[in-house]
């Protein structure tokens, strides 16, 4: 996705210019959160399941080296070719070289946030490979030359009328038809032709089982299966953290994943790939791209437990009102805000601050990642490593020295309520930022300290 110099606050402010649209975006995602609530509240053991999943993932991260070797060995025995990519660039080159070896330059791809993270589409385009995203939402944003704004609902920021217009332009549907049923039907026709003619399919991986060497791909549309089962070459791309130890652990994760994501009891398809189809070649690309570095950060390694359900997006009051693109990274939302600084501290120094630390994200997380705690901790790291704006630094130093000294604090308070200038909500003298939509509290004639001195201390 395109990099730009804008930060979350600026992009979110732009998103908020159209308030009705913000309301619509917020309501749509809140609806998904409500569906999630309904689905999980009928599972009495829900919290125990979360705890189990969390502990399994803790074990995975502590034994990842051996699990990856076990997975590789089993996958190879099953007839799968395993590749290793240290970073995004190598991942893209591996995919391209597999395609070249098979003389393929037109492919289909189902949803894989890893390939978004690696900007695979742009890379393949640059080397002359035509990629068609087959997930409906991804196809929509691809036609619009955009990145997904949500990892489960890629075009959640698009209105149906706009999609109708897009399809009219690119798929030749009648102008003005914005019926979701009709538009989905049009996409079905359009993409079925691609499934039938393309010889290679890329999919993501939801879970990779060390014990058996199989991997599981979950979709509702069936697009991963349509691509993989009709293609001569299937390439599955996975981050190193997708490993789970035992096959029976799929029972735990599949119970959690879709209930958390969309409120469905399970995705329509949970496909287990163990061996290539007869006459087909099957490749797995295992990608690090900074993950092993994150594994070494004690405070942040838990972020690697993520199973990409996006429950934290849907519940996040900031995400719902700022839109996915305001995070300017492939994985937006709260989880993206703790993953992105690991990729590039400078580019993503703003993201851990794009939160009120309300903690709802950690509560919905099916693997119990302490997301809001990590947001707090990233703030400390980023400031210490010098990624805080100078004005903020000066303001904070001034505040710290005042608050450390009761004498100065009381004096400052008296001097026209020092707080008016320096309090959290006015720090950096951004007085207007508060005042734009909110009135100031009316300063009382005396502080509590002053009142107490007058009314109580004499008595005592």
């Amino acid at each position: 996705m395109e990099h730009n110099n804008k930060d979350h606050a600026t992009l979110a402010a732009a998103f908020n210019v159209d308030e009705a649209r913000v309301d619509w975006h917020d309501e749509t995602l809140w609806f998904v959160r409500q569906k999630r609530d309904k689905a999980v509240h009928i599972v009495p053991e829900w919290e125990a399941l979360r705890e189990t999943a969390s502990q399994i993932k803790n074990n995975v991260l502590s034994n990842l080296h051996d699990y990856l070797l076990q997975f590789e060995k089993n996958a190879q025995q099953n007839g799968i070719t395993v590749h290793w990519a240290a970073d995004d660039k190598e991942h893209n080159q591996i995919v391209h070289s597999i395609l070249q070896q098979n003389n393929i330059n037109r492919i289909v791809k189902s949803k894989s946030m890893l390939t978004e993270e690696c900007h695979l589409n742009n890379y393949l385009k640059s080397v002359g490979v035509d990629v068609v995203d087959t997930d409906l939402g991804e196809r929509i944003v691809q036609l619009a030359d955009e990145a997904p704004s949500h990892i489960v609902l890629p075009c959640i920021h698009w209105k149906k009328e706009e999609i109708g217009e897009l399809f009219h332009q690119y798929l030749g549907t009648p102008k003005g038809n914005a019926d979701p049923q009709f538009l989905t039907g049009a996409a079905r026709e359009h993409l079925r032709e691609k499934f039938l003619t393309r010889r290679a399919a890329i999919t993501g991986v939801n879970f990779a089982v060390a014990e058996t060497g199989e991997f599981v791909v979950c979709t509702n549309e069936g697009n991963a299966d349509m691509g993989a089962h009709l293609a001569d070459v299937h390439i599955a791309c996975m981050g190193i953290e997708k490993i789970i130890p035992l096959q029976k652990h799929l029972g735990v994760f599949l119970r959690l994943l879709t209930r958390s994501a969309t409120g469905q009891p399970i995705t329509t398809y949970s496909s287990h790939f163990l061996q290539p189809r007869k006459g087909q070649t099957l490749h797995i690309v295992i990608v690090d791209n900074g993950r092993s570095r994150q594994l070494g950060r004690e405070d942040f390694r838990n972020s690697l437990k993520c199973i990409r359900c996006a429950a934290c997006f849907n519940t996040c009051p900031v995400y719902r009102r700022s839109g996915g693109h305001s995070y300017h990274t492939a994985i937006a939302g709260p989880i993206g805000s703790i993953l992105a600084p690991n990729l590039d501290m400078k580019d993503y120094a703003d993201l851990p601050f794009a939160s009120t630390l309300c903690g709802s994200c950690s509560n919905v997380c099916p693997v119990k990642i302490d997301i809001h705690q990590q947001l707090y901790k990233w703030r400390q790291v980023l400031v210490k490593d010098g990624y805080a704006p100078t004005a903020k630094k000066i303001a904070m130093q001034g505040m710290a020295s005042t608050l450390a000294s009761p004498g100065i604090y009381r004096f400052a308070g008296k001097m026209g309520r020092w707080v008016i200038k320096h309090f959290p909500f006015m720090v950096n003298n951004k007085l207007n930022a508060w005042y734009k939509h909110r009135d100031m509290p009316a300063p009382p004639k005396e502080s509590f300290g002053e009142w107490y001195k007058k009314n109580r201390e004499k008595k005592g």
Binding site: N16, V364, A400, L403, A404, V427, R438, P441, S447
Partner: protein, 245 residues
């Protein structure tokens, strides 16, 4: 029982009536309240902005002020949580640890320590509860809508002891108001929008008073209510629990 009153800096400066209500309420319930006069702030504004390393002075002052008290009580979930999670003192870590264990948000102190079962208070109005995130999800003073767990609410329990209070339910029972400390200026657009939406939920359900265990959220919502020239007011829960006809 002796308790130290820990008054957040913005309450001290802007909402002295909340501190007074807290003091009077505790005294009514038989608590001997001590107010260390040299207190300033818990340090959260700096820490949440990433400047935790600048809070040493605040922390040491806090330890000095509150080290020798049985309990420390604060009418703010957010400041209480900050102390509970982040107070350290390299000169006297034992004292800091002790404080972290003995610091209570007001409603949890009333329910868990004083075990208050009835209150002599009256507030004949429609009241809606804003669940401040740090009190709720941090200190767990109320059950959280995300979890599959039995509901409870310490502030709700107390409000039900007040004569005349009619508790109004909301569409989104525990969504953040968008204050978020410095978030409210650095992410002004989203913060203000969150505040507007939160206030609208309360107004739509016919409330007269929005209450909370945290004045910072109320300050944020008050700013929006005033701008909208709304008749709806904010009132800290201490003021309602301390109300008489």
């Amino acid at each position: 029982m002796k308790a130290g009153l820990f008054i957040p800096c913005y309450v001290d400066q802007f909402y002295p009536q909340v501190a007074i209500a807290t003091l009077q309420l505790l005294e009514k319930l038989g608590v001997e309240v001590v107010y260390p006069p040299n207190q300033t702030c818990c340090g959260q504004p700096m820490a949440n902005s990433g400047f935790e390393h600048l809070t040493k002075g605040c922390d040491e002052l806090f330890v000095k002020n509150f080290a020798n008290l049985d309990y420390i009580v604060c009418p703010s979930g957010s400041c209480t949580l900050h102390i509970k999670e982040h107070l350290h003192d390299e000169h006297d870590e034992a004292a800091a640890t002790g404080i972290r264990k003995r610091v209570y948000e007001l409603t949890e102190f009333l329910v868990d320590v004083l075990k208050v079962e009835k209150l002599d208070a009256s507030f004949p109005h429609k009241v809606s509860m804003h669940q401040s995130c740090h009190g709720q999800r941090g200190l767990k003073i109320s059950q959280m809508s995300e979890l599959v767990a039995a509901p409870f609410s310490k502030p709700g329990k107390l409000l039900q002891m007040v004569k005349g209070v009619e508790l109004v339910q909301l569409s989104r029972p525990d969504e953040c108001c968008g204050f978020g400390g410095t978030f409210c200026v650095f992410e002004e657009a989203v913060s203000a929008k969150m505040g507007k939406d939160r206030v609208a939920d309360h107004i739509d359900h016919g409330t007269e008073f929005i209450t909370a265990a945290d004045m910072s959220c109320l300050m944020h919502m008050e700013g929006i209510l005033k701008r909208q020239k709304s008749k709806v007011e904010v009132k800290h829960i201490a003021e309602i629990l301390n109300s008489q006809l």
